[in-house]
C-alpha cells in the first residue's frame, strides 16, 4: 500500500527490542515466576525402556496431595490421543502418567510436590515403580521385525505407511545412462533449546479460572487441549507463555506434563510448578530425525535427473505426539525428496515406526534436513558418475524462474524464485574455483584433504490448513489473528496469537504496524503468548509467524489506518484521499494532526468527530491464499578439511544464498540463518542420541551429547535474493527454519568430495571422526582387495 520508504517499516535494519531485557537480565522466564505459596514438582520417570508397570510404591506418611500416580490422575484427565486421517493410521494414546506399560526411558510415572524442587526430588526418589521388563525395540531392524510390540494391540510396529507413484519411474529408469542406489541415515537428535521446558498451574477459585503458564510455542492450542483433556469449558482456562529461551519445535507439542499439572492444580489450593532439568529434557522433550533412506535415482548422460525411487523409514519413538502425529516427518520427507528439481517421475514409500524411544516431534527444518541429505547426496554421486561438477548438476535440474509458479511432482506449488541463481551465487560467494585450486594443491602424501560440498533445497513455509489436512492431521492449522488498538495517547497495542520465543517477533511485527503508520517502534506494544490477552492463533512453528501473524497485523493495521484517516479528515476538514501518514502524524494539504490528538479527540470527545463509527480497535484474521505455503529456498556451500589420521572434519568456509522473499528485518533474518546453520552443523557433525540394545539412552548430558558452540561454527557468508511471493502480504516467506536444512547435506557432500580419490562416501550423520575414519579405512581395504584380485 505504501510506496515511500518507512523508517522502521518493512526492510528496516532495526535492532531487536526484546534483546535489551534479555541482555540485562530482566527477562521473565517461567523459573522467574513468583506466585504466593507456589510448590515445586518433580517427576519419577521410567528407567526401563519397555515393560509392564505392575505397581507404584509411594512413600508412607505423606499428605495425600503430595504424590500423584496414574491411579489418582487418570480420573481427572484423558490421555492425549493424536489422530490422523491417513489410511491405516494407528493411534497411540499418550498417557499423562504411565498406566499399564512404560514405553521409553523418561516416561513420567508419578510426580511429587513439595515446597522446593530439592524436596520434591527427595520424595520422587522414594517412589518405586515395579516394572516387569519386556524386550526393547531400539532400532529400525527390531521395529520392523515386530518380535516385540510397543503397542500390544497392534499387529506390528508401524504407525502408518504412505506411498505415491507419479509419472513413470520404471520407464524413465530404462532410458537412464546411470542409475545408483544409496542408503542414508540421519541419526536421532535431541532438540535442546537453551531454556528447558516448564509448566506452572493455578486454579483461582474466586475467578473460577485455571491459569497455566507453559513454555509453549502454541499457547492457544495448549489451552484448547487442557480444556478438552480435563473436560472443562475453554473459557475457564487461560494459558500464558512467558519469556522463553528458544523452542525449535521441542515446545510445540502438547505434553503430558502440561495436562498433568493443569489437572492437579484444579485439586489444590496453591500453585504448582515443574521446571525440567537438563537430564529430563534430553529424554522427555520430543526427539527428532532418526531418518533412514534407500534412494534409487536415474539420470541421463547429460545429467538430467530422470526418476527417483525413495524408501523412507522414520523411527518416531514410543508415542504419537499431539497434534503432529508420528507420521509428520515421514509424510513431510516424502513430499520434499523431489526438492527444487524439475523431477517428473517419482515413487515413494514412507513408513513411520514405533520404538521404545522418546516420542519424536518437530525440530527446526522438520524432516527436510533428512530429505535434503538424501536427495542432495544422491545428486552429487550421480554428478560424480557422470563427471559433472555438483553445482552444475544442480543448476541443470532445477525448476526455472520461467516455470514459476510450479507444481511439483508431489503436488506442492513452488510459488516464486530463481533456484539456479542461488546456486550460481553460492558458487561465487564460496569462491569455488579458488578452493578447487587449493584442493588440487594438496599433495598425495599429505595427511589431510579438502572438499567442497553443496546443499540446495526449497522449503515449504507458512502452509495453510488444507496442507496440514493432506498430511492427515486432525487439527488443521491455518489462521492467525491480530488485534490492533490505538489508545487515548495515540500509541498502539498489537495483540497476536503467536508466541515469539526468540524470533524477535516483538520487533518484526511492530515493523509491520510502523510500515502502515510510520511510528517509532517504541510507540507499539506487542502482546503475545497469553490467551487471556490475545486473539486466537495457532502459534509459532513451521516458519509461519511473519507471513501469517504479519499478514494479520497488516490487515488490522490497514483497517485501523482507514479509520484514523477518516477521523483526521474530520479534524483537518480535508478529504481522506488527500491525507497521508508519516512520522507519527496525518498530513493533509493544509495542515497536519498527530496520532495523540486524533486519539484524544476521538476517544475523549467523540462528539467532535461525527459520522465515524466508534472504537479504535480492529481485529483481523489471516488465512493463506495458497494452502501449500510460500517456498523459501537456498543453496549452502561449504569447504571442509578432513584429517585422514583422525577422521576429524573442520569447516574452512561456509556460504549461503537464500531467498525468503521480502525481508522484513535483515538483522533478524541473518540471525535466523546463522542460528539455523549452527544447529545444522550440530546435526551434521556432533549431535546424536544413542540408545543401547536395552533402550537406555547413552547421551543424555552435555558431557556426551555435543552441541556446536562458537568454536565449531565458522563465519557464515550470507547472500540474499529477494523474490516476493505472489501469495503473501509484502511477498514475505518464512525464514525461521531454512538455515538448519542444508548443512548436513552440504557437509556430507563436502566430506565425500574430500575423500573421492579413496572411494569413501559419507552417508550418515553425525559425521563423527570415527565414521569418517572408518569409511576411509573400509575404502582402503576394498581398494587393497581389489588390487590383489
Amino acid at each position: 500500500m505504501t510506496a515511500q520508504k518507512r523508517r522502521y517499516g518493512i526492510g528496516a535494519r532495526v535492532l531487536r527490542r526484546e534483546d535489551e531485557r534479555h541482555l540485562t537480565g530482566r527477562g521473565a522466564f517461567i523459573a522467574n515466576l513468583r506466585l504466593p505459596d507456589i510448590q515445586e514438582v518433580a517427576f519419577t520417570r521410567s528407567q526401563v525402556a519397555h515393560g509392564r508397570l505392575i505397581s507404584v510404591e509411594t512413600p508412607e506418611g505423606l499428605p495425600a496431595d503430595r504424590v500423584w500416580t496414574a491411579t489418582e490422575l487418570a480420573p481427572l484427565a484423558e490421555p492425549l490421543t493424536a489422530t490422523s486421517t491417513l489410511k491405516g493410521f494407528r493411534t497411540a494414546p499418550l498417557p499423562n502418567l504411565a498406566e499399564d506399560k512404560v514405553r521409553y526411558v523418561g516416561e513420567p510415572i508419578a510426580l511429587a510436590i513439595a515446597p522446593t524442587r530439592a524436596e520434591a526430588e527427595d520424595i520422587a526418589s522414594r517412589i518405586f515403580p515395579e516394572i516387569e521388563p519386556l524386550p526393547a525395540v531400539t532400532d529400525v531392524k527390531g521395529a520392523l521385525a515386530g518380535d516385540s510390540l510397543v503397542h500390544d494391540d497392534w499387529e506390528d510396529n508401524i504407525y502408518a505407511t504412505t506411498s505415491g507413484d507419479f509419472g513413470d519411474v520404471d520407464g524413465a529408469a530404462r532410458d537412464a545412462a546411470v542409475s545408483i542406489t544409496r542408503e542414508y541415515c540421519m541419526r536421532r537428535q535431541a532438540v535442546v533449546p537453551l531454556e528447558t521446558r516448564g509448566v506452572a498451574a493455578h486454579y483461582d477459585r474466586s475467578a473460577d479460572l485455571l491459569t497455566v503458564w507453559s513454555t509453549t510455542q502454541t499457547p492457544h492450542m495448549i489451552r484448547d487441549m487442557i480444556a478438552l483433556q480435563l473436560g472443562m469449558e475453554g473459557r475457564r482456562v487461560r494459558v500464558i507463555a512467558p519469556d522463553m529461551g528458544g523452542g525449535f519445535g521441542a515446545k510445540c507439542s502438547v505434553y503430558p506434563e502440561e495436562i498433568a499439572l493443569a489437572a492437579i492444580a484444579m485439586e489444590l489450593d496453591h500453585p504448582i510448578r515443574w521446571v525440567s532439568d537438563r537430564w529430563e529434557a534430553m529424554i522427555s522433550d520430543t526427539h527428532s530425525r532418526d531418518h533412514h533412506y534407500r534412494i534409487t535415482a536415474h539420470a541421463a548422460s547429460d545429467g538430467t535427473l530422470l526418476a527417483v525411487d525413495a524408501d523412507i523409514v522414520v523411527d518416531s519413538g514410543a508415542y504419537s505426539v499431539h497434534p503432529w502425529t508420528a507420521t509428520m516427518d515421514a509424510s513431510m520427507s516424502s513430499a520434499m525428496i523431489p526438492g527444487p528439481y524439475n523431477l517428473r517421475n517419482y515413487r515413494f514409500q514412507a513408513r513411520s515406526l514405533a520404538s521404545n524411544k522418546t516420542p519424536s516431534g518437530p525440530y527446526r527444518g522438520v524432516a527436510r534436513p533428512g530429505a535434503c541429505l538424501a536427495i542432495e547426496r544422491t545428486l552429487d554421486d550421480l554428478a560424480h558418475e557422470l563427471g559433472i561438477e555438483p553445482h552444475e548438476m544442480r543448476i541443470k535440474n532445477m525448476v526455472t524462474k520461467a516455470q514459476m509458479p510450479f507444481t511439483s511432482v508431489a503436488n506442492k506449488v513452488y510459488d516464486s524464485g530463481d533456484y539456479a541463481e542461488a546456486v550460481r551465487r553460492a558458487h561465487t560467494l564460496i569462491e569455488h574455483d579458488a578452493w578447487r585450486e587449493k584442493q588440487r594443491a594438496v599433495k598425495q602424501e599429505d595427511r589431510h584433504r579438502i572438499g567442497i560440498g553443496y546443499g540446495s533445497f526449497t522449503e515449504q513455509t507458512a502452509h495453510g490448513c488444507i496442507e496440514w489436512a493432506t498430511r492427515g492431521l486432525a487439527i488443521t492449522i491455518g489462521v492467525e489473528s491480530a488485534r490492533l488498538t490505538m489508545d487515548a495517547s495515540g500509541t498502539f497495542t498489537l495483540a497476536v496469537g503467536i508466541k515469539s520465543h526468540g524470533q524477535g517477533s516483538e520487533t518484526s511485527l511492530a515493523q509491520v504496524v510502523s510500515e502502515v503508520f510510520d511510528v517509532e517502534l517504541e510507540k507499539i506494544t506487542v502482546l503475545h503468548g497469553d490467551t487471556g490477552l490475545t486473539p486466537r492463533g495457532d502459534g509459532t512453528f513451521a516458519s509461519r509467524t511473519m507471513v501469517m501473524a504479519g499478514g494479520a497485523t497488516f490487515g488490522a493495521a490497514q483497517a485501523l489506518a482507514e479509520k484514523v484517516l477518516r477521523i483526521a479528515a474530520v479534524l483537518l476538514k480535508e478529504k481522506v484521499e488527500h491525507l497521508k501518514m508519516s512520522e507519527g502524524k496525518v498530513h493533509g494539504r493544509k495542515g497536519s494532526v498527530d496520532y495523540a490528538t486524533i486519539a484524544r479527540e476521538f476517544l475523549f470527545t467523540p462528539d467532535h468527530v461525527p459520522d465515524v463509527d466508534p472504537g479504535l480497535e480492529v481485529i483481523y484474521h489471516y488465512t493463506s491464499e495458497v494452502q501449500t505455503g510460500a517456498f523459501t529456498y537456498a543453496t549452502h556451500a561449504v569447504v571442509v578439511d578432513v584429517d585422514l589420521d583422525t577422521g576429524a572434519v573442520e569447516l574452512l568456509d561456509y556460504a549461503i544464498v537464500e531467498d525468503c522473499g521480502t525481508v522484513v528485518n535483515p538483522h533478524i533474518v541473518d540471525g535466523q540463518i546463522i542460528g539455523g546453520i549452527a544447529q545444522g552443523i550440530g546435526t551434521a557433525l556432533l549431535e546424536e542420541i544413542i540408545y543401547d540394545a536395552d533402550g537406555q539412552p547413552k547421551t543424555t548430558s552435555f558431557l556426551d551429547y555435543l552441541l556446536p558452540g562458537a568454536s565449531e561454527v565458522p563465519e557464515i557468508k550470507i547472500g540474499h535474493m529477494e523474490t516476493p511471493s505472489p501469495y503473501t502480504v509484502f511477498g514475505m516467506k518464512g525464514a525461521g527454519e531454512g538455515g538448519s536444512i542444508a548443512p548436513p547435506a552440504a557437509i556430507a557432500n563436502a566430506v565425500t568430495d574430500a575423500l573421492r580419490e579413496f572411494g569413501a562416501t559419507i552417508n550418515e550423520t553425525p559425521i563423527t571422526p570415527e565414521r569418517v575414519w572408518t569409511a576411509f579405512e573400509h575404502a582402503k581395504q576394498k581398494d587393497l582387495t581389489g588390487a590383489t584380485r
Binding site: 522446593t116 524442587r117 530439592a118 526430588e121 527427595d122 526418589s125 532439568d277 537438563r278 537430564w279 595427511r447 589420521d645 583422525t646 577422521g647 556432533l686 558431557l703 555435543l706 558452540g709 568454536s711 565449531e712 563423527t768 571422526p769 570415527e770 575414519w773 572408518t774
Partner: protein, 277 residues
C-alpha cells in the same frame, strides 16, 4: 537435578579442615571449585551429608618454590595457572594444559588439587602431573605425608588418599631447560574432556611419553618410548605408531588411531619447542 540436603562447612585453616574431615569421615566431601563434584551431586550420584569448603583457606592458594620445584597450593585455580598468576615451573606446559580445561568459567573455579583428587584420566592434570612426576602434599589429623601423583591416582574416581586426608599442595619439579615438552589434546570440541591426551618429554636421557584417556589412570607408554627412541619423527608416520600404541594401551580401531595421532602430534609439538640453555 538438585542435591540432597547437606551441611556446609567453611573452615578457615587447614587444621580445622582436617579435624572436620576426620570427625565426619565418609559422610563428608571436600569441595573446592566444585566443577566436577557439584554436577555429580546434582545428579544425585554423590550424596554427601557434609561439604567442607576449603576455598576460605588462604594458605591453599599460596605458592612457594625451591631451586628444584614449585609448590602450588591445592586450591590454585586453573585460571591462576593459565593467566600466569603463579609461575609455571614446567616452562609453559602447565599454562598450556590449564588453558585447555573446560571453559573459562570452569577454569576460574576448578582447582589443581581438586582435579587430582577427582582422578579422571581424561582430564588434563592427572596426565600432565604424572608426566612431570609431581608430588602431592597431604595432611590429616595424623600428620603430613607426600604421595607421588603417579601412585596417588589408582583408578577412575579412586585415589590413594585416606578418607581423612586432604591434599594441601602440589609440588611440581622444575622441568630441565634442556627438556622439550609437547602436549596434544584430542577432543571433539574445544573444552571437552580429552579422547586422548598425550604428553611428550624429550630430554638427553631419552623420551618420556604419557597418555591420558586411554585407561582409568594416565599411563606411561613404555613400548612406544623404545620404539621412537633414536628415530627421527620425519621418518615415521602415525600409522607406524599404531601397533606399538595398541600394545601399550590395549586399544584398537579408531581409539588406537586417535592415541597414535595424539602421541605423534605431542612429539611434533615437543620438536618445535626451543631448547633453553
Amino acid at each position: 537435578m538438585k542435591p540432597v540436603d547437606f551441611q556446609y562447612h567453611r573452615p578457615a585453616n587447614v587444621s580445622e579442615a582436617v579435624r572436620l574431615l576426620d570427625e565426619l569421615g565418609d559422610d563428608a566431601k571436600i569441595i573446592a571449585g566444585g566443577q566436577s563434584l557439584l554436577p555429580i551431586m546434582n545428579m544425585r550420584l554423590a550424596e554427601p551429608e557434609h561439604l567442607i569448603d576449603i576455598t576460605g583457606i588462604r594458605a591453599l592458594r599460596e605458592y612457594s618454590e625451591t631451586e628444584a620445584s614449585g609448590l602450588y597450593g591445592a586450591a590454585t585455580t586453573h585460571m591462576m595457572i593459565e593467566d600466569g598468576l603463579v609461575p609455571d615451573v614446567a616452562n609453559g606446559l602447565l599454562q598450556l594444559a590449564a588453558s585447555g580445561i573446560g571453559y573459562r568459567a570452569i577454569r576460574t573455579r576448578g582447582t589443581f588439587g581438586g582435579s587430582l583428587a577427582h582422578s579422571d584420566s581424561s582430564a588434563e592434570w592427572p596426565t600432565v602431573l604424572s608426566a612431570l612426576n609431581a608430588v602431592v602434599h597431604v595432611e590429616s589429623v595424623n600428620g603430613k605425608r607426600q604421595i607421588p601423583v603417579r601412585s596417588l591416582l589408582q583408578g577412575f574416581f579412586s585415589t590413594a588418599l585416606e578418607p581423612n586426608e586432604l591434599i594441601v599442595g602440589v609440588e611440581v619439579p622444575r622441568l630441565a631447560d634442556h627438556t622439550q615438552w609437547g602436549l596434544y589434546k584430542m577432543a571433539r570440541k574445544v573444552g571437552e574432556f580429552a579422547e586422548s591426551l598425550a604428553v611428550a618429554l624429550r630430554g638427553p636421557e631419552g623420551d618420556e611419553l604419557w597418555l591420558g584417556a586411554a585407561r582409568d589412570v594416565p599411563i606411561r607408554l613404555a613400548a612406544t618410548e623404545s620404539f621412537v627412541s633414536g628415530r627421527s619423527l620425519d621418518s615415521m608416520s602415525i600409522s607406524d605408531l599404531v601397533d606399538v600404541i595398541g600394545s601399550d594401551t590395549s586399544s584398537d580401531g579408531h581409539r588406537c588411531q586417535l592415541h597414535a595421532s595424539a602421541v605423534y602430534r605431542a612429539l611434533q609439538d615437543a620438536n618445535r619447542k626451543e631448547i633453553h640453555v
